[in-house]
């Protein structure tokens, strides 16, 4: 039974995200490697970073990042190294150059538009005159006085 389970484990191989044997000895380097890999996308997965992913490819990329760091690359160099080979698709945080300016500025622009429109609306509201409430007819006035008497 136990052997069967072990065999199944190996076949299905749920390689856990970061493996103990990947961890670098230098804690400072390891922290940098973790931060970098949290921002890189696992290419064969659906929307997971290589830091979280169980895939083989993610493991290879994690090792590659660590190799670059050990070789003395700066964080930016290591990321550039990966982007050169796999394209900007690997970046979970899109670059701000080119058309991506739109993506990054969409929120602030919308906020500006919203605040401007709201300001115009609020000014209109503050200056508006309370609409005339239809006056009661004479008969209704009399009836009201009747009710209020008792």
């Amino acid at each position: 039974m136990k052997r069967l389970i072990l065999a199944l484990c190996l076949i299905a191989a749920p390689v856990m995200a970061v493996q103990p044997d990947e961890v670098l000895d230098d804690p400072a380097l390891e922290t940098r490697a973790r931060a970098i890999s949290a921002g890189l996308r696992c290419l064969v997965c659906r929307n997971e970073s290589i830091d979280d992913s169980n895939a083989e490819l993610a493991r290879d990329l994690r090792l590659l990042v660590r190799e670059r760091l050990v070789a003395g690359d700066s964080d930016a160099d290591a990321v550039a190294f990966i982007v050169d080979r796999y394209g900007e698709y690997v970046l979970l945080k899109p670059q701000s150059g080119g058309a991506n300016v739109l993506l990054w500025l969409a929120g602030p622009i919308m906020l500006g538009v919203g605040v401007l429109m709201a300001a115009l609306y609020l000014r209109g509201r503050a200056g508006a005159i309370e609409p005339e409430v239809a006056r009661l007819s004479q008969a209704e006035e009399d009836r009201l006085r009747e009710i209020l008497k008792d």
Partner: protein, 654 residues
Amino acid sequence: MITELGHFALILAFLVACCQATIPLIGAYRRWPGWMALAEPAATLQFLLTAVAFGALMWAFVTSDFSLRLVVLNSHTDKPMLYKITGVWGNHEGSMLLWVLIVTLFGGAVAWFGTNLPPTLRARVLSVQAMIGVAFFAFILLTSNPFLRMAVPPFNGQDLNPLLQDPGLAFHPPFLYLGYVGLSMTFSFAVAALIEGRVDAAWGRWVRPYTLAAWIFLTIGIGLGSWWAYYELGWGGFWFWDPVENASFMPWLIAAALLHSAIVVEKRESLKSWTILLAILAFGFSMVGAFITRSGVLTSVHAFATDPERGVFLLGILAVFMAGALTLFAARASVMQAKGVFSVLSRESMLVLNNILLAVACFVVFIGTIWPLVAELFFDRKLSVGAPFFNAAFSPFMAGLGLVLPIGAMLPWKRATLGRVLRQLAPVFVLAVAVAAFAWALQSGRSALGPLGLFFAAWLIGGAGVDLWSRTGLGQGRFGRLTRLPRADWGKAVAHGGLGVTMAGIAAMMAWQAEDIRVLEVGQQFELSGYGLRLDEVHPEQGPNYMATKATFTLSKNGQVIAEMFPEKRVYPVAGMPTTEAALNNGFLRDIYVVIGDPQEGGGWAVRSYYKPLANWIWGGTILMALGGCLSLSDRRYRVAAGARKLPAGVPAE
């Protein structure tokens, strides 16, 4: 036989929906009472027929009827009964059937409980609701029929995705659908009001309960989903900014904006056209969600049944409903005249600010979600937009919201002066800053995120408390009056406090989490953030439809044993899939999270463990928000309004 009955009932329900979508609408236009009155029995019948269809499908799953294609693909005789039942909606076809069942349920609710609605409005609301029904019935019958048979039934099924065989995820979809589809009700009300050309305080009062209910369900659904991700996926992440998650989050944000702007309509007869627009957009985002989940245009962790044909059909439904409603809006919005007059500094304008922040936040999520598609289509760039973007672009709006919330919640209606409110809130602000400074002093050289989170928690919770207290008036008996405050006031305070609790949980977890990855021999112990963890043993275990490797850990602090923990690694042979079952030791201030990994070549096991500060606050806050919603929903003014008609004429409702 039962399957064919279910199929037949579904087709009948489609036909009933067709009648309900047209006849009452004509009746309302021509003022023919008989034609309008048709809506009520039709809505009931439509619900009953859909329920029969749903029941038939559930019966097929419960009895493991492998002549049904859907059952073969998603079930297995060894599966526990709970997951046979939840397997009904654990797939595309079944979940769409659940979706229309809820559409008809909400339609039925208006028919049964909406007796105090003006007859023309009621007929129109039910008609529009039936149009939504027609579209989705057609979608099911034409592209995703759950009642298809197999030519040669196999002996057993292919089992449900093991990740879905979990209590957290079993009830996550129904809640989400209740939320999504609840927003269809506000959509119907909005469109009916546009046709009617009338939006008044009464309309706001009818719409708010439905919005509130939809929002509560979405809150619970999203909370369940994120809780499931936290303990099931094996690294304790709780939110991934995945397209499908965003698909549920966008309607939540818009619904939150809507339920605040509906207050302004109800109490002050302003913001009418904006509220109508939000109601239309909220359901629009629900359908965008359905499209994203089921079309596969955006790759996602949880997309299921990705099929271009279905995607096109859903996009068609979305386009027709949004184009129709927005055209109607453009033509009729000018009719909605605002009545209330208020100055720039007032509760009304703070609610406008709330709406701007929530709507823009939703817009940012939307842009980020579809940007990979836009970039590829128009700029020929293949790129990803992931968590780092959303964390940077979305969070500032939430921070802004948290900052102004306690002030806005206490400003009086119409005309306000800041001074009074600020004086009342000053102690809370000082307290919040002190809490943040304390946290800042305790940590060394880490990001400001954690202290900021605690600041917001103290500010929001304290602000909610001051708000409640300020409503009790002056002098003797304030505590007594506190308990007699309207439930809506309590609901508001509890929900706003819940938001603070969630913010603290998220910030603390992101800032102060500690992680440990190592190889551990049986009998060895290691230290994690002041706690000792010892691996006692590892043994195989046999589950009903899986095999597991189960480890036993002893958790201790300062040599004192706190608990035993049993993380598992399971393999589901039928589906051929492994899953990790993390072991959690929940605490008020922290969770300890242990995952057992693979056996190592040189002996020992890979072990990952986490110290997760304030983890439970994330979901505790979510529960508080939902609870606040429930309190508001049970407020006297809705109950009185609902029962008003039943009182004999001439007797005042009070």
